[in-house]
Amino acid sequence: MTMTMTEQMLADEGCPAMTAKDYRSDVKPVWCPGCGDHGVLLALTKTLAELQLAPEKVSVVSGIGCSSRIPAYLNTYGFHGVHGRSLALATGLKVSRPDQTVLVAGGDGDGFSIGGNHFLHACRRNVDLTYIVMDNQLYGMTKGQASPTSAPDWEKGKLTPGGTGINPFHPLVVALASGANFIARVSGTNANGAVPILKEAIEHPGFSLVHVLSPCITYNREQLDWKKMVRPAPVEATNDPGRAARRLMTDDNLNLGVLYKGDRAPYQPDLRSRGVSVADLEAPFQV
């Protein structure tokens, strides 16, 4: 195995470099063989190795779903919370512990259906989080229902026999509209291709969305075709929301790469002590 640049640098300095494997826990994933989420796990461990972040300095927060199982497979701190609330939990963690690198991971159902409100507000609040959404355009964990990103004519969703008949949710467009600071797309079937983008997302200050096309081979085998259909985005990332909006409005869900990179300052309350004691707060009560 060849060394990454960072590993080389660390090795030169005499520090033992962490490898991707060092970020993997020994828990065996429950995912189906061939599920795109395996690739995301691999990409994530490689990215963390690239960044050489100490595992105890990283927390990965998730909700519920196949994809949301990912924290336990990493050797970092993790929180596998309830369905749809990962961004809220991560927000509390990050604002009170800005020293931690906080990643949030989950599925399209978790993030855009039940979790939609936190998604909106995380984008606009712009806390320094990286949100990795493994989008398989359905609910895997509950055995194959339509999600907000399902095609309106997908007839196999078990609660929508004739297709949902409704407009799919465009996560990247909504993210931009509500203020996300970094928007990118990667493919779950190409871990190596995802690494530099994940790295950039984590390093970029503020709220970063990484949309992952992560096929569910069990409930929609056709998603295996994504592998052949994706392509690098034809243009460079923009920092102009207007231009990004135009691009994303016509985006066909298959462009990979960094699509928008903003420069808003992250939201982070100042936690430095002001030298005030609790007793000092009592004065206004005195008659």
Partner: protein, 575 residues
């Protein structure tokens, strides 16, 4: 023995400044060496509707309002009749005001006096009728002008000297106008101020006290969504926390706020939110997550009238059920309730300490009557209880087991940043290391552990407040804010020579059956007093306690406060 006290209500229509006058009166009473409390009531208008400031002033700290009012002072009488049920008058009561009082008051009161407050105010440059009314009240109660002047200076100082002197002129005019009115100066202000004025005292609301109790206990992160009547807890904390190196985040909803504090707590910071019934309902799923993942959090629920949106501005103790039983699955957790405004301080602080110590969720049941009432109390020293969480320490030896099956049920919790102890907290049932498991053994062990934590902890003597006669055969069992009226009622009965005991439960869950059995020794009759329609507390006692006495339920729903006389009467009628 009941405390000698005077009850006065100021009322007026929108913009009349009745609350300002009420607040100044309360503050002045404090400076004059009295104690007391003030409750506000308002009409349905969002703002600018009719309002009433209901005060009770007394020589000693008081926990509840009286059964009746001595004085009803109307700055004007527009829509004042909507407060009729809240302001009981009798033959000894006096109605004073500008113009004809509503019939309901005129008929009930023994005396009526007219004073042209508007006209008097007009004659003073910058004078306002509410300040004239303040002067009238001060004169009737025997509050010295000097004290009113001090208070005005403090309140209006920022607005410049002119405002202060206009105010004072109006107050003086009011005092003069009241020259011929009866006096209610039974509190002997002079003496009171001599005796006890040196004792430092606070003017505080229950919501503020919850806020202060929280930071005393160690809370440094709060996330919340505003809701009546809990908002003032948050409004107090919002500027306070940053001063202490903490933070308050206004969340997008209650689902977010409760999860934010779980995240904050996971990161090692004692964390809290405050809400009311509808918000608590939304939080229940995730409070269960805190229980299952053993992440300490504190949720203050300031109760209001229910069900559903109910009566947001009025008090009720009807969220007891949801607090005790509202989590899905078997989810043992803590439920506590402050017994008075002052006790909001201690109970919140203790709740923080317990949640942190037992690594679980604590729900604190305050209510609108405690939260939004202002009271004068002796300054409250910090008992020094501070959150101490059992954390994992470096160096971590071997395989870290976040959910280790310790004897106490509490396991050392690793805080992110500690090397070698990385784990994933989980709301799925799990093994000792936190790995999801659906095995019967793991489930049983973890459920036993979560239960054991609460059962084995020694909660000490603060679980309840017990007072009255040790040899009484009659006891009143109550909780939360109802304790105020019960305590006053029982003091009255005991003053008449009856033997009665009061047990007011502060720690509602886990139940403390042995302690209660001890507290009720010798008791033959137990009256259970609560402010709910369904007798929620009564049912809970039946479910979790073996009480070897005849039990009766006195469950009275809101929106009116339970009055001491109601309790006395129920006790007397029980023969």
């Amino acid at each position: 023995m009941t405390v000698p006290s005077i009850s006065i209500t100021l009322t007026g229509s929108g913009g009349s400044g009745v609350m300002t006058a009420g607040n100044l009166l309360l503050e002045a009473a404090g400076r004059a060496g009295w104690y007391g409390l003030m409750t506000r009531s308002a009409g349905p208008q969002i703002r600018g509707g009719e309002a009433a400031a209901m005060l009770r002033l007394a020589a000693e700290p008081v926990l509840s309002h009286q059964d009746r009012y001595d004085i009803l002072l109307g700055i004007d009488w527009k829509n004042a009749d909507r407060f009729a049920t809240e302001i009981p008058l009798d033959g000894d009561s006096l109605v004073v005001g500008d113009g004809e009082p509503p019939a309901v008051f005129a008929e009930a009161a023994g005396q009526q006096h007219h004073l042209e407050l508007q006209k008097i105010a007009k004659e003073i440059p910058g004078g306002r009728p509410n300040m004239v009314a303040l002067g009238v009240a001060a004169a009737m109660l025997g509050l010295p002008e000097s004290v009113i002047a001090e208070v005005l200076e403090k309140a209006l100082g920022r607005k410049g000297e002119e405002a202060v002197s206009a105010g004072l002129a109006a107050v003086r005019a009011g005092m003069e106008a009241a020259a011929t009115l009866p006096r209610f100066d039974t509190l002997a202000v002079g003496e009171a101020s001599q005796q006890s004025a040196r004792e430092p005292r606070w003017n505080i609301s229950g919501n503020e006290a919850c806020g202060l109790g929280a930071v005393r206990g160690g809370i440094r992160f709060v996330a919340a969504y505003p809701i009546t009547p809990a908002t003032e807890v948050l409004e107090w904390l919002a500027p306070a926390l940053p001063k202490l190196g903490g933070a308050l985040v206004q969340a997008e909803d209650e689902l977010a706020s409760v999860n934010q504090i779980i995240g904050g707590s996971f990161g090692g910071t004692p964390s809290l939110t405050a809400t009311s019934g509808p918000g608590l309902a939304l939080m229940m799923e995730s409070i269960g997550l805190a229980v299952a993942s053993e992440t300490p959090i504190v949720v203050i629920n300031v109760m209001r009238g229910g069900p559903s949106t109910g009566i947001p501005t009025k008090s009720e103790q009807s969220d007891l059920n949801i607090a005790l039983y509202g989590l899905h699955g078997d989810a043992p957790h803590l439920v506590l309730a402050p017994l008075s405004i002052a006790d909001c301080l201690f109970t919140t602080q203790w709740s923080v300490v317990l949640a942190e110590k037992l690594q679980t969720a604590a729900i604190v049941l305050s209510d609108q009557a405690l939260g939004q009432t202002r009271t004068l109390i002796p300054a409250q020293a910090d008992p020094g209880l501070v959150a101490e969480r059992l954390t994992a320490q470096a160096p971590v030896e071997g395989n870290y087991e976040r959910y280790a099956l310790t004897e106490s049920g509490v396991s050392p919790m690793a805080i992110p940043g500690l090397a070698g102890a990385q784990y994933t907290a989980d709301g799925l049932e799990h093994t000792v290391t936190g790995m999801p498991s659906s095995k019967a053994d793991d489930h049983h062990r973890q459920m036993d552990k979560r239960q054991r934590k609460l059962e084995q902890h020694d909660f000490g003597d603060d679980w309840a407040r017990i007072e009255g006669d040790l040899d009484a055969e009659t006891a009143v069992l109550t909780w939360g804010s109802s304790y105020g009226a019960v305590s006053e009622a029982v003091a009255g009965l005991r003053g008449e020579g009856q033997k009665v005991r009061v047990v007011a439960i502060r720690l509602l869950a886990p139940a403390q059956p042995e302690r209660l059995a001890e507290a009720l020794k010798g008791v033959k009759r137990v009256l259970v007093v609560e402010q709910s329609h369904g007798g929620q507390f009564f049912r809970y006692l039946r479910a979790f306690y073996d009480i070897d006495a005849e039990m009766r339920s006195m469950a009275v729903p809101g929106p009116l406060a339970i009055r001491p006389s109601d309790v006395r009467k129920t006790l007397s009628d029980w023969s």
